[in-house]
């Protein structure tokens, strides 16, 4: 079958347009260009001879209809001849569909658009802060309620999430902490050896792993693993209106979805942190033994002298707080998902970024606090 096309010529009765071939969507690009370029100057009337058209689909009929309308608007009398009945029907069908497209709002000038974006961004930040604060309040109230009435806790769900965020995270958290312990010991050794103070590498490892690195690494890994998972799970439930369905069944999403997840993180993070501390010390100790010849016995003795129980507690105190923040942000971002798959992705990313950011900010705040109280 031939591509759709047409030719115009001047005959006795006036201008004639002869169309033929396939006037369909496959050939619509070329037809569109040709019909737009149709020069009506000098024409008074145009007679369409379209009997040779083999196929006229909605796209082709639309182009024909549009051309007829434009010519009529230019004051040119058009008549259709030889149109097959089924093509006639198609043309009528398309005419029904010709409604003025709704006006698209004018885009702002570039400079103004930048300012508008900035303003919207600022308002968004404010709104998000408000939401976070509100959600924090709601979750805190929910947690208190659960303490008063422990029966409200969805125990099965809680245990399920505890396994997911805690137990299943052990390999990755352990591996990363171990490796960081190794790196720390090695780098510390290289520097301290220059002063003949290699034995202080134990202080370095002990204090930094217990106070900061163990908990920070754990929190970051968990934010990436579980914060994102929370946001994506709750988010795709939002997309499919499952959360709305829950509400109509008289079930509180706070009890069903949010609290078990946050509680699981609050419990799991200290345990993971403890494990990360152990693995970090193990990695550091091994490296100290291999590179600096510090025997395990000596390592433990030095460790005993250099760290107090507070070094350990500082890390452990931060853990549940970080767990709470990661869970809070993950669930909140999940609940803020709109109707689209894209928004699930966006909120999931935000959940991870915001959680890591807040964890680090809080870590700084804790540092100041602990130095003020002198531990």
């Amino acid at each position: 079958m031939a591509a759709g096309g047409f030719s115009t010529s001047q005959e006795r009765g006036g201008w004639v347009l002869r169309g033929g071939g396939r006037w369909d969507v496959e050939h619509s690009a070329a037809l569109d260009a040709a019909l737009r370029a149709l020069e009506p100057a000098g024409m008074r009337s145009l007679s369409f001879r379209l009997g040779e058209i083999e196929r006229l689909d909605t796209a082709g009929a639309w182009l024909l209809h549009r051309t007829l309308r434009q010519l009529a608007a230019a004051g040119i009398a058009c008549d259709l001849a030889e149109l097959r009945p089924e093509h006639q029907a198609m043309l009528e069908q398309v005419a029904i569909g010709d409604r003025p497209a709704p006006a698209v709002p004018e885009p702002l000038p570039p400079l103004l658009a930048v300012i508008a974006r900035l303003g919207r961004g600022a308002l968004d930040v404010r709104r998000e802060a408000e939401q976070l604060l509100g959600f924090f309040g709601a979750v805190s109230a929910g947690l208190l309620r659960t303490i008063v009435q422990p029966r409200r806790l969805r125990f099965t769900s809680f245990v399920f999430h505890l396994e997911r965020v805690g137990l299943n995270a052990l390999p990755i958290v352990g591996l990363i902490s171990f490796l960081i312990g190794v790196v720390l010991a090695y780098q510390g050794a290289v520097q301290l050896q220059r002063f003949g103070a290699q034995v202080f590498v134990v202080n370095l490892i002990g204090v930094s792993v217990l106070r900061e690195i163990g908990i920070l690494l754990t929190a970051i890994v968990v934010a990436g693993r579980s914060g994102s998972a929370f946001a994506a799970q709750i988010g795709s439930m939002m997309v499919h209106q499952e959360v709305d369905a829950m509400r109509t069944l008289g079930l509180d999403p706070m009890d069903m979805l949010v609290l078990p997840r946050i509680l699981a993180l609050v419990i799991a993070l200290p345990l993971l942190c403890f494990y990360a501390d152990l693995m970090g010390l193990l990695g550091g100790g091994m490296m100290a033994w291999l590179v600096l010849d510090i025997s395990p016995g000596l390592f433990i003795e030095r460790l005993n002298q250099s760290v107090t129980v507070w070094s350990f507690l500082v890390g452990m105190i931060k853990a549940p707080v970080f767990g709470f923040v990661i869970g809070l942000i993950g669930c909140l971002e999940g609940l803020r998902v709109g109707g689209s798959a894209e928004s699930v992705g966006r909120q999931t990313t935000r959940a991870v970024v915001a959680a890591i950011f807040l964890v680090i900010v809080l870590d700084a705040v804790f540092s100041i606090f602990f130095s003020l109280v002198g531990v």
């Binding site: 969507v25 909605t58 639309w62 029907a89 069908q93 497209a101 997309v239 709109g338 109707g339």
Partner: protein
């Protein structure tokens, strides 16, 4: 082209999910240019049959030919070319949630035909109005539409490339009766002027009555009967009797008057 040519030929089809056998030794022919309605109880495998024919489910056994080609053995590039010749409306719309309605319609126009943007816009807004959506629906996202509007938007997307073969899964479910009637008319007109073949899963007796040339009944894992509305009304199978003679059917078909109308058309 032969008017009676078979456009979809299914032979000995067997589909299963794990141990559940959905179809067993199912045969079906769909002729070029006809509107065939697929009926059957909920869960009898109508949607699965549709998905299997368009190649989204792999059959456990049997042979499916569409446009005379066996999809299972067709090379990838040929398949893609074939897929452009049909449009599919899924039972739940399956619109791309991060694109607007107009963009949903334009996806195929852009990816396959590389049409210029103004023409794409015109075609999209034409399709939007044709399927009965308000003109301003084009800029909306699927999550901002009502259930019936999503259905229509799905139809507009299925019609984007003006396919020769249209698969519709319960197109009138969720439409108001006026909208459903307009939909029937649209399908009828498109079918007449484009010689469209329509494979339509539906429970809508009015649609079956108004636009289906033939009806295929799915039960007991097979297509048990294929025939016109008249054949259905005369068929002795208990489920078919229940379906076409139940209280709702009587209301929709208007009993004797309905019979007369069927006579007129055939």
């Amino acid at each position: 082209m032969n008017a009676d040519a078979v456009i979809i030929r299914v032979r000995g089809l067997k589909t299963r999910f794990g141990r559940q056998v959905v179809h067993d030794d199912l045969d079906l022919d769909v002729r070029r240019g006809e509107v065939i309605g697929i009926v059957g109880g909920s869960g009898t495998g109508k949607s699965v049959l549709l998905r299997t024919i368009v190649g989204l489910n792999r059959p456990a056994a049997g042979r499916i030919e569409v446009f005379g080609q066996d999809l299972a053995v067709l090379p990838e590039a040929e398949r893609r070319r074939l897929e452009r010749r049909w449009g599919v409306l899924f039972q739940d719309g399956a619109l791309f949630s991060s694109l607007t309605v107009a963009q949903n319609i334009q996806v195929a126009l852009r990816e396959h035909l590389h049409l210029p943007q103004p023409l794409q816009d015109e075609i999209a807004s034409l399709k939007i109005v044709l399927v009965g959506l308000p003109a301003d629906a084009g800029g909306k996202f699927p999550s901002e539409l009502s259930g019936g509007m999503r259905k229509r938007a799905g139809l507009a997307r299925a019609l984007a490339l003006d396919p020769e073969l249209l698969f519709l899964d319960e197109p009138t479910a969720g439409l108001d009766p006026i909208g459903a009637a307009a939909f029937d008319q649209l399908i009828r007109r498109l079918q007449r002027s484009l010689n469209l073949t329509v494979f339509m899963v539906t429970h809508d007796l009015d649609s079956l009555h108004a636009i289906c040339d033939r009806i295929a009944v799915l039960a007991e894992r097979r297509v048990i009967v294929v025939g016109t509305m008249r054949d259905m009304l005369a068929h002795p199978h208990p489920w078919i009797r229940e379906y076409f003679h139940g209280p709702r059917a009587r209301a929709a078909l208007g009993a004797p008057a309905g019979l007369a109308a069927v006579d007129d058309r055939s």
